[in-house]
Assembly symmetry: C2
Homo-oligomer: 652 residues x 2
């Protein structure tokens, strides 16, 4: 309640904190030079592709009222605002699936009302955005972000699961639609004759599954055995956009005798077409919306505000998880205020608003951490080696390394405990057994160097500008076959599931009891060991039933607009109802706010029972591989698909 009594407190604090480091935010970015382009392009592709896909989905759902041009424009505008004026510049913004679903419901609603119709749809959504904006600003003023800790895993994962299922549904509907004539099309056209429809459908199956399978494979490239480290990283980072490109190129490989319109490609107007230009004048139509509907707009606004508050905060939270060791302060309250303002701007321009997106936001931080690490590491190793050449003592070597680290840190002095491990390791080297303790600065630094992120605004600004620039490349985007997008939807769905504990617990139910030990052999969530199996089953079944209810709500024609309601309800069910049925400790384990993981027990294979397990001298060959392995791959292994860092528990 304290939060409500001191309005503006959070915003003012956030603003002061970020203001202090604002200049450094720009200097830090420009100092990285061209290297900053790597995370920029990485996030650009990761963020532009879904926005394009959502644009196509919106375009179908709203009969073309909104399309890829608008989703790209909204993402670019909000991204630029966030990078210039935002609190947390690591947060990546974009038009996300909840927005698309809400706009879909709002379109079906307004199309059926003669007072609104498709014509006043965007003007009406303008009013929805006004209300949403007001609500978000109020939430920011009254420090609502303080209750962020009450969003436990359960609601977020249920929501993530729902989005995945909706993606799969979208992919299936999309592929099926390729076999039939789209609405509002002339059925006498050559490409809509049965033989070509069927060909279009068959090709859609090939492209959709082709993209899905190759994208899923390429995502895991970093842990492949084959190819050089550089190639593997490149494929892992850019494989998915590359696959979209490859399958698009392949789609131009159909023989000339096939009608030009097979396979179908993205339909969207150019930004200079009348349909796109109309958006800039939406505000003039807003006065035409009947007053009753202006007030009715409050209901969807309430839902959207709730969703955005939830989604934006979680994305911001995951972008600054404590394991990233961010040095600059957070700005939840201020960013929520800014989100309210951006929602207003988008609404008045007739664009679907953007909010903080997952998994791109934590991906952004992760890519900057890798970049930063490489830079620091290189300098520290160099200074240590220089010192070793002149036969410096261990404490001299450490002194040099510390100096470099402090210099890199700039004005913000690091926590002394962070370097304690490194210091100890360097000091102890060469003590006693000189054979084993041979001092190797690279090794010590790899093991003990604390994580540092290059916190700056340049990469976010550049990627937003690139998204904006791709509006001009709409002619290229229009070459993508729709079936490739359906495959991409399926990819997004499947890729987001691992690491969702709700999903992993559902899988656990299907593992035959005699195989449960296999779960324990690998790394696994800690609840598997700390909570008895029957409670895991009970909790999961509750979630499944609740999920089916939520999924059912999305099918209700107009009341579907209320689909976020069950999620808000769930937060209170979690707090007041669930503790009556479950032991609080179990509940906390099953619904912890962090992804706690246990290391696997060593694999007990038939042979290792007989054979002697020991480190062979050859196995030492992986010391060489450590540098390569250390950077991005470890981070990959430690992160869920949603961008959450897994926490090693000392549970066992």
């Amino acid at each position: 309640m304290n939060s409500i009594k001191s309005p503006f407190k959070g915003i003012v604090n956030d603003f002061k904190g970020r203001k202090a480091s604002y200049k450094q935010d720009w200097i830090g970015g420009f100092c990285s030079g061209f290297r900053i382009l790597a995370p920029t392009f990485y996030i650009f592709f990761a963020s532009a592709l879904p926005v394009i896909a959502f644009g196509e989905q919106l375009s179908r759902d709203t009969d073309g009222s909104l399309s890829t041009v608008e989703t790209l424009a909204s993402t670019a505008i909000c991204g630029v605002i966030q990078s210039l004026f935002g609190g947390q510049p690591l947060l990546v913004l974009g038009v996300a699936e909840p927005t698309v679903i809400m706009y879909n419901y709002m379109y079906s609603f307004s199309k059926k009302r003669p007072e609104l119709g498709a014509e006043l749809f965007l003007a009406w959504t303008g009013w929805v955005c006004v209300w949403t904006s007001l609500l978000l600003i109020l939430l920011a003023i009254f420090n609502a972000c303080n209750i962020i800790s009450r969003f436990t895993r359960i609601a977020g994962e249920l929501f993530g699961m729902l989005i995945s299922v909706l993606f799969i549904q979208e992919a299936i509907k999309g592929v099926v639609s390729e076999f039939s004539i789209p609405k509002n099309e002339d059925p006498n056209k050559e490409e809509f004759q049965f033989e070509w429809l069927y060909t279009n459908g068959s090709l859609a199956v090939i492209f959709c599954f082709g993209l899905l399978l190759t994208a899923l494979k390429s995502r895991k490239a970093r842990s492949w055995w084959y190819g050089t480290g550089w190639l593997r990283s490149f494929i892992a980072d850019y494989g998915v956009p590359f696959m979209v490109l490859a399958w698009t190129a392949m789609s131009y490989n159909v023989p000339g005798k096939v009608p030009h319109a097979v396979p179908r490609r993205l339909i969207c107007p150019f930004p200079w077409d009348k349909a796109s230009l109309y958006h800039w004048t939406i505000i003039t139509d807003m006065g035409k919306v009947p007053v009753a509907y202006i007030f009715a707009a409050f209901i969807p606004a309430l839902m959207i505000a709730g969703l955005y508050f939830f989604d934006h905060s979680v994305a911001a939270q995951l972008a600054q998880q404590k394991e990233f060791n961010l040095q600059k302060p957070s700005a939840y309250h201020y960013d929520l205020l800014l989100l309210g303002i951006m929602t207003l701007i988008c609404g008045l321009l007739g664009l679907p608003p953007s909010n903080g997106v997952l998994p791109q936001s934590p991906m952004h931080t992760k890519s900057l951490a890798t970049l930063r690490r490489q830079v620091i590491r290189k300098k520290m190793v160099k200074s240590a080696k220089d010192c070793m050449k002149v036969n410096g003592s261990n404490s001299e070597i450490y002194g040099r390394m510390e100096a470099v680290f402090l210099e890199m840190e700039g004005n913000s002095p690091p926590n002394p405990e962070e370097l304690a491990n490194l210091k100890e390791a360097v000091m102890k080297a060469d003590d006693g057994d000189s054979l084993k303790g041979k001092f190797d600065p690279e090794k010590h630094i790899d093991t003990h160097l604390p994580v540092r992120v290059n916190e700056q605004r340049v990469s976010n600004l550049l990627q937003s500008l690139l998204v904006g620039g791709s509006i001009l490349a709409i002619a290229v985007i229009k070459m993508i076959p729709t079936s490739v997008l359906w495959g991409y939807f399926a990819y997004m769905a499947i890729d987001s599931l691992p690491g969702n504990q709700f999903f992993e617990r559902i899988l656990l139910l299907f593992i035959s009891p005699s195989r449960l030990y296999k779960v324990l052999e690998g790394s696994h969530a800690s609840f598997v060991e700390s909570v008895p199996y029957k409670y895991i089953v009970g909790f999961t079944l509750f979630q499944v039933v609740y999920f089916l209810i939520c999924f059912g709500v999305t099918w209700i024609p107009i009341a579907g607009i209320l689909f976020p309601l069950p999620f808000f309800l769930l937060i209170s069910i979690r707090e007041h109802v669930l503790p009556r049925f479950f032991n609080p400790f179990h509940l906390q384990e099953l619904d912890s706010s962090e992804w706690e993981e246990c290391p696997g027990s060593p694999q007990v294979s038939l042979f290792s029972l007989h054979g002697v397990i020991e480190n062979s001298p050859e196995a030492g060959g992986h010391e060489e591989g450590r540098e390569e392995f250390c950077d991005a791959e470890i981070l990959d292994e430690m992160t869920t698909s949603r961008g959450e860092l897994k926490l090693r528990t000392s549970f066992r």
Copy 2:
């Protein structure tokens, strides 16, 4: 040279040995009751599907002179003969890929000769079979099988690789051909209009990849985490035929407006059609073949005899590897004689001859070993538990168990050493620490029960009769889309590669040096540790070059008939040339006759470096799973795709 001096010695020995156990071969089979049907059906499906696929391939290559009816008939006839009169009843016979390739070359040859033409093709192959038969009988008489130990890994794996590549080539050619009009067809038919040709091609891509991917997945079902053990075993054993069925059913799901002949299906005459009946009278045409061609037939006969000698012996060898602990004698010489006779019969009937096939032969033994193990195990556990109920001492318990084992073994007394481990384990149980040593008969038996195979003739006879019976079901076989068969060819190729050390060494070349330690983490062939990397590379490159030469030979139009020549040459290159370039020890490791494997070193992950590795009490949960894990899955893990058992070396 001793072999040549004492003709008939091997055959007579073999005959005497097998005659002694002939009666038991039948009794043992019938005593198993209905349980014998499991391995029967398993081998039937594993053996019938490739024969059907080869039939379709032959039918295309020979313009329909031979087809699935003939390959099935040959497999059935030879299988029945082998099971009734054969030496080693575990050996499974069938028309194999080398035969199909040779018949393809022979057809291209005879079609181009005006004296022969397509009409006298089968009569000419009859003469080829006569020569082949003669050569095989001579090899058998002069005890050629004694040199079987000179066939090292190198020739066999090169051959296996060639077959795989030819399968892939067949699959690609097949899918591409689906986009064009087959030869000898009327291009005015509806299904050969461009739109339907293209639809047919697209569907072929879907069915081919669909079958390939699902078949590959289902093969690995036994190690899945999900589903009950019974379901997993079923899918692993019958998944591939089931997938052929499923995709065939799916192919009937195309809308009615698509022409009836899309997708294309197998073309083969019914056994009562004129084309099939003609075969029974081939012998009357053999007199029409010009004398010069009768002698020319000796050249392909020489190749085929060499291939058969090699293939048949290796298949027989792998069906009776020493790890299977077979109790009845081998019969290499006698079986080669029988192969000669069967080749003659097939030739005179105008059928392509059969020979011992891989991996079906070792699969057969393996499935009988599992069956036998289950029976023995059940009885021994029961007797041990009965004895424990009346508080029998450990030695009484062991006595009962031994009695059961001896009874099951029948007249052939077991090697006393085989039960020594079990005896020791049972005797030591409960000594000292009564907490740990709690006597559990199931556990001891699982660990120490020696492998036993139900050696009998019934399963082979029944499966051959089933293959014969499927000739009558040709109407059903004709429903399979050809594209599903192309997928099946690709499946056979890819499935046969793991475990081929030549292939695995090629992959090794592509692993970046910094990742080589990952190979050592898992189980791996012992040469990885015992031979320096540069020699592995050198040896593998030699094999690759040699392989390309062999593959090149198959492309030469008529001289292609000599394609087995490089393999025969390789045996002598291996003996006389390679030792000059490689250290004999390295050569032996890289080309050992057995698949020697090293256990992996424990996985060194980032976390296990910090975390404490210990067996958690929960990990003990896998004791329960042991029974399930022990039977087929261990055998699966210990066997290569070719059916070879991996040997654990005590190398480290």
